[in-house]
Each structure stands twice: as structure tokens, then as C-alpha cells.
């Protein structure tokens, strides 16, 4: 039953009419499901087949509004079905449904072409929001903790709720604009026809290429996006990956002054990004 349940739907959101071996689906289903006076065995399993796909696709849509806007509805829907067929949920919670999306887009670029680079950036950015929403907040490091250990051996940690993204497109402003338009749309559904039409047809232009270093993070359980300078980003990546403090700072490269590094650390401490390593 499980294999039948998770098979993609046929056009018109119907259950596929033939089983994988070519037999009529109605015959296959009738072998294990009883009909009643109103529904055939096929009809009854179809209820579950449709609910399965509607549930997963709803969740995929909810998690990826920016990707949907960038690809357009038709292409986005094809991506959703291809992805969910290959990566059905492997977690007790739908929160993790899109955890493999970045890998999938890389492996099968045909679903997002010719916008694959942008799609990758958006998918990573939207997944980062899922992570940031409910990841752990470890005890924040204090100045006293710094004093205790030799800096060449001191290993700091980055809060699990902070995601660092090196991007090719300014997807932060793009996704904010898409969400703003979508909320205007839902407001306009109660408005006049012309206002509704205007809101529906307004397009958010896809962003042009521009290198960007971004942190998606939480302060007092609200989500924020912070653009970073490239050397600052490199230090944070090195810290996240477990480099001792001195080597992490060296990762920033030449041309960075001690004063700059000090300012960055002061800010990161203030934001509570730096914690003890587990």
C-alpha cells in the first residue's frame, strides 16, 4: 500500500491508472482494499494518494516562497514533484522536508535551468530560515571565558541557529520583496477587482548577480539577516569549523586591522553568536 500511496499523481490529480508492472491499478488495489456501496477500492486508495501529495506539496510551497517566485508556478511545481519523489520525508517532522533540496538542485539542474545558480542561493537561504527558527541557543561566551585560555588553543563555537551563506545573488532583499508582495496579495483578495488584479500580476524582478556574505540568525527568537564583509565571514566560517581563535583570525587574510577584528568580535558577542564549543 505504501508504494502505491507515494506514487506521483496523474494529470487532474488522479491516481495513476496502471501499476508499475503495467497491470490496471484498479485490479491491483482491489486485491487488498475493500470497495463499499459508493466507492471502488481504487477510489478509496486515491483519497490517500491525493492527501499524501497535497500535504507534502503544501509544506514544500510554504517553505519556499522565494524559490516559487523565481521559477514561476509551473516550473516550481515540477521541481516539487521531482524532489519529493526522490526525497520523501525521512523525518518525524515536515520541518525537515527540504533539507536535501540544495543537493538535489545541484545534482539535477534541469529542474531549475536556466536559473539554477539563483535557485541554489534561494533554496539555501530559505532552508537557513527553517534552521534558524528553532535551532538551539547555547550559553553565550563571556569576556571572562576569553581570559582563561591561551588564544592559540581557544576554540570558540558559533551558535547552531546562525547559518553562514556565501551567495551569488542578493536573495535577502529578493525574498523579502516576494513575501511583501504575497501578503499584499492576500490582503487584496478582499479588495476590489482592479486592486486584486494589480496585486496578482505584480512581478518581483529576479535579482542580478552580486556577491554577498550573509548570516541568518536569531535575536530574542526573532529572525534577522545580516550582511557581512568577506573577511569577517571567513573568520566566522573558520570558527564554526573548529579552528582555534588565532588561526580563525588569520583566515581573514591580509589587509584586516586588529581594530576591525575587535569591532567584529564585539558585535558578534553582543548578538550572542559566539558560544563555547560542545
Amino acid at each position: 500500500m505504501h508504494r502505491a500511496l507515494v506514487r506521483p499523481l496523474a494529470p487532474g490529480n488522479r491516481m495513476q491508472s496502471r501499476w508499475t508492472d503495467g497491470r490496471p491499478m484498479a485490479d491491483v488495489v482491489a486485491e487488498f482494499i475493500k470497495p463499499n456501496d459508493r466507492l471502488t477500492a481504487f477510489d478509496r486508495l486515491e483519497i490517500y494518494n491525493r492527501m499524501y501529495w497535497f500535504r507534502l506539496i503544501d509544506s514544500f510551497y510554504e517553505d519556499n516562497p522565494g524559490l516559487r517566485a523565481a521559477l514561476g508556478d509551473r516550473k516550481f511545481n515540477q521541481l516539487a514533484i521531482a524532489y519529493l519523489t526522490k526525497h520523501p520525508s525521512r523525518s518525524f517532522t515536515l520541518r525537515n522536508l527540504c533539507g536535501q533540496l540544495e543537493t538535489f538542485i545541484r545534482r539535477e539542474p534541469r529542474w531549475t535551468a536556466p536559473h539554477t545558480a539563483l535557485a541554489l542561493d534561494i533554496a539555501r537561504f530559505e532552508w537557513a530560515q527553517t534552521v534558524t527558527f528553532d535551532e538551539a541557543m547555547r550559553p553565550v561566551l563571556t569576556a571572562a571565558d576569553f581570559g582563561r585560555t591561551d588564544p592559540s588553543r581557544l576554540r570558540l563555537g558559533l551558535q547552531p541557529h546562525v547559518t553562514l551563506l556565501a551567495l551569488q545573488h542578493p536573495v535577502d532583499t529578493y525574498v523579502i520583496a516576494v513575501k511583501k508582495r504575497d501578503s499584499l496579495r492576500s490582503e487584496a483578495s478582499n479588495a476590489t477587482t482592479s486592486a486584486r488584479h494589480a496585486a496578482r500580476t505584480r512581478k518581483v524582478a529576479r535579482p542580478r548577480r552580486e556577491r554577498l556574505w550573509l548570516a541568518v540568525h536569531r535575536v530574542e527568537n526573532r529572525m534577522y539577516y545580516k550582511r557581512l564583509e568577506a573577511p569577517a565571514f571567513k573568520i566566522l566560517v573558520a570558527l564554526r569549523d573548529g579552528q582555534p581563535l588565532v588561526r580563525a583570525v588569520a583566515a581573514a587574510g591580509r589587509g584586516v586591522t586588529p581594530a576591525q577584528v575587535q569591532d567584529w568580535f564585539a558585535l558578534w558577542m553582543q548578538l550572542g553568536w559566539i558560544c563555547r564549543r560542545k
Binding site: 505504501h2 482494499i33 463499499n36 490517500y48 520523501p88 520525508s89 517532522t93 535551532e135
Partner: protein, 292 residues
């Protein structure tokens, strides 16, 4: 049953599902509510707003955990990591009992996120009961299993749904979360008498009840939780209360959720039917069968 071993000997009255659109109303207005039911999976995370809200709710209210992913009927063994997370949440909420569904929904670690009906066989009942026992022993909290709404039945079934439910809970020695709306929806989809169902389950094991709204389609009923409770479900609830005694009851409203007050008012309607059931219980204390 009012207070029994299956609901931690509590007498919680009428509760509501804790849902995101109501968070700010509840935290700001602090309405008087008997208890809140939370979906465990929504709080089995490591931090962020879900746990912050939960902790604030716990300061003011009694909370009971309801799960949607244990899949007692799936052949998969319970995932150790999952159980550990769930146990941590049980400690956090101090839930007097914990419920999940009599269904399957995962195969080899792939989740459908649906509550799928089981074949009603003795072998399935034995396997399911063993899994419930294992989970309860690990979590160290009483468990109530909930009957689901269903849209399909299997040729291999050897018994009715209520016989299967009874078989499972007797073998597991656990409680029942009797979802009266689900009984009604399934009775219409499969053509059985819902009162036969009520009469057929061990009343002393009922630790909690669910009521909810459903949607009528041309050829079947769908359990949508997006409506007020319909009249035949209220009648069935009154009879369930007459048979089992006044039991912790929760209104499920999960889609197209109206204002907090509207949901709360709908839940409190249960009091009228509880009063009817009490009167009927005085007149006729021994359980009797009734036609639908």
C-alpha cells in the same frame, strides 16, 4: 472515565489545542482554559520561539501531549533518538498522560505524515500492543491510543475496528483517547453503527476524548477539523460520556482556525452534553445499546 490510571488520575475537564494563530491572544489575555493539548512534534526542537511559547504557557496552564508520528501500527521499531527527544519534552511539560494514534504511517524510516488505517488482525494487534508497551516503558508516562478516521478497509481484516482497538488496549494495558468525531466519520464511510462502536470498547480505559468538525463530500466524509462540531457528533459524545463518565475532552480545530474565543465557545458547548449525559446516567446507570 473521570480520573483513571490512563490519564494519570487527573480530572482535566474541557481543553483546547494550542495553535499558532492563538499564541499572542493566550499570552496577552491569559484566558481561563482547563488545559491545552500540544502536538508533541511541534516542540521536539532544540530552541527558538516554539519552546519559548511553550515555557510561558506552562507557567500558566496544564498541558497534555498529543503525538502524530509514533505510528504504533508501523512495523518500524521506535526510533531511539525520537524517543529521547519525546522523553525530554515529557519532562518539560510534565504531561500526566500522552496520546498518539492507532495507525501506521512510516515504512523503513520514510514518513507519510498521514494516519493510515490498519488491517484489523490479531497478529497486528499483538505487534502494536508490544510497541505501545515498549514506548510506555521508555517514556514512563501513561499512554492513550486514539482511533483514527479512515477511508479504506482491508480484505485481510478479521474483526471490527472496535474489536481491534479493544484487543490492542487490553494487550498493551493502556488507555484510549476516544475520538468521537473519528468514530462518526468512519461509521459513515464504512457503514457501521457508531453506537455499536461506543458499546464495544472498554469504557474504563477511556482516558480522554476528542471532538471535532468534519466535511461532507458526495461519497464520503473527510476528517478536516475546520468546522464546528456537527450535531450527530455531539449526540455521540453525550452517549460516550454517559457510558464512560465525564472525561477530559478536547476540541480539535486545526484548519481555517477562527478566533480564540470562537474555538473556546465551541469547546465549552460540550458542557451542555455533559449535563445531558449526567442526567441520563442517573436515570440509566448501566450501559445500554442505542440505534444511530
Amino acid at each position: 472515565m473521570p480520573a483513571n490510571a490512563f490519564n494519570g488520575r487527573t480530572d482535566y475537564g474541557i481543553g483546547l489545542g494550542l495553535r499558532v494563530p492563538h499564541y499572542s491572544h493566550i499570552l496577552e489575555k491569559k484566558p481561563v482554559v482547563g488545559w491545552f493539548e500540544i502536538i508533541s512534534e511541534n516542540f521536539m526542537c532544540d530552541g527558538g520561539r516554539p519552546l519559548e511559547v511553550l515555557d510561558r504557557i506552562l507557567e500558566q496552564y496544564r498541558v497534555v501531549q498529543h503525538g502524530v508520528s509514533m505510528y504504533f501500527g508501523s512495523a518500524d521499531k521506535p526510533d531511539r533518538e525520537h524517543l529521547k527527544r519525546l522523553k525530554a519534552l515529557v519532562k518539560r511539560t510534565n504531561t500526566p498522560w500522552l496520546s498518539d494514534h492507532l495507525c501506521w504511517g512510516s515504512v523503513d524510516g520514510t514518513y507519510t505524515h498521514d494516519l493510515l488505517p490498519m488491517p484489523y488482525t490479531l497478529a497486528a494487534a499483538k505487534r502494536t500492543a508490544a510497541k505501545i508497551r515498549r514506548v510506555r516503558d521508555f517514556l514512563e508516562v501513561p499512554i492513550c491510543v486514539e482511533n483514527v478516521s479512515s477511508y479504506a478497509e482491508f480484505h485481510v481484516s478479521e474483526m471490527t475496528e472496535w474489536e481491534f482497538l479493544s484487543e490492542v488496549v487490553e494487550r498493551a494495558d493502556c488507555g484510549i483517547l476516544l475520538d468521537v468525531n473519528n468514530i462518526y466519520v468512519s461509521s459513515r464511510n464504512h457503514g457501521f453503527n457508531p453506537y455499536d462502536y461506543l458499546n464495544g470498547v472498554p469504557h474504563h480505559r477511556v482516558g480522554q476524548m476528542h471532538i471535532a468538525g468534519h466535511t461532507k463530500f458526495e461519497k464520503y466524509l473527510l476528517d478536516t477539523h475546520d468546522h464546528p462540531v456537527l450535531d450527530p457528533v455531539w449526540k455521540l459524545y453525550a452517549e460516550a460520556t454517559r457510558l464512560c463518565g465525564v472525561t477530559a475532552t478536547l476540541l480539535e480545530w486545526d484548519d481555517r482556525i477562527p478566533s480564540f474565543d470562537e474555538v473556546h465557545d465551541e469547546a465549552l458547548k460540550a458542557n451542555e452534553f455533559i449535563a445531558d449525559a449526567k442526567t441520563a446516567r442517573k436515570k440509566s446507570p448501566s450501559p445500554r445499546s442505542r440505534a444511530a
